[in-house]
């Protein structure tokens, strides 16, 4: 980040403000990218202490939020590389689960769950978090940044060094894998 980007109007932030107001976002992004609470805590600590060391250069919070996204993604990717547990197994392309002539091979059942009903449901959130954690990393990063964090594809591409078509392709496959992972839990049971 350029120095000119970091300085804006407003009183300097305190470490407590940084931890309480920005900590959860950093922690949740790291947790979902890494699929592991302990690793997410390490990354969150690294990122937030980086901010605290540079507090004099931050005034206000709008630029800090954008900067934190980028720094958290970089820190999570670096942590993952250090952990050296990259998935070696072959990744199945979810678009290939069709018959030879391109039609569905089995019934597609409607779901009983609705976003309105699920909003306050802890069990549903747990299922979704687990499905995210089980996504292959190449799809998980894009899925989390797009569908959890709500970032635009171009910004995600810059963070992950991917073209926009590559971001869209990974996001689409991530969504299909998520949909297919959740289906057995949410499909209506025929009466």
């Amino acid at each position: 980040m350029e120095e000119s980007d970091k300085v804006s109007t407003g009183p300097p932030l305190t470490p407590e403000q940084v931890f309480l107001e920005h900590g959860p976002r950093v922690y949740n992004l790291a947790r979902r990218m890494l699929g592991n609470d302990a690793d997410a805590e390490d990354v969150t600590q690294d990122v937030l202490l980086q901010v605290v060391r540079k507090l004099d250069t931050f005034r206000g919070e709008s630029n800090l939020a954008t900067w934190l996204h980028r720094v958290t993604v970089n820190a999570a990717l670096a942590h993952r590389r250090k952990r050296a547990q990259r998935q070696e197994h072959e990744i199945h392309d979810p678009l290939e689960s069709f018959s030879g002539n391109g039609f569905h091979t089995h019934a597609v059942k409607p779901w009983w769950v609705t976003p309105e009903k699920a909003a306050e449901n802890h069990e549903t959130s747990t299922l979704i978090e687990k499905a995210i954690a089980e996504l292959p990393e190449i799809y998980r990063d894009v899925y989390v940044l797009a569908d959890v964090e709500g970032l635009p594809n171009a910004e995600i591409g810059e963070m992950l060094d991917l073209s926009v078509p590559a971001v869209k392709s990974r996001l689409h496959r991530g969504r299909i894998l998520m949909r297919n992972a959740l289906a057995p839990h949410f499909e209506e049971v025929a009466s």
Binding site: G23, Y27, L95, F103, E129, D147
Partner: protein
């Protein structure tokens, strides 16, 4: 158009990014393919469910570690100024 071809276009279809002629092809397929209609509905529910995931608070032990580290950092800085 096959179900697989529809699925390949789904991201752009739900985002309203398909050119009109392709969008029309998808619509035409959906008119006679209930499994694809259900698939699209559940794909969209997946997106909406994910978007409303709650944010977990910082674990207390992490907050303690951070506060301790920030205090140490402050002490180091003050020590450096003396």
């Amino acid at each position: 158009m096959t179900c697989r071809e529809v699925l390949e276009l789904l991201l752009e279809y739900v985002n309203g990014e398909l050119p009109p002629d392709r969008r029309e092809h998808v619509r035409h397929h959906l008119e006679c393919c209930p499994p694809c209609v259900t698939y699209i509905e559940t794909y969209q529910v997946t997106i909406r469910l994910t978007r409303q995931l709650p944010s977990a608070p910082l674990p207390p032990q992490l907050l303690n570690r951070l506060q301790k580290a920030a205090a140490e950092l402050k002490g180091e800085r003050q020590g450096g100024k003396e």
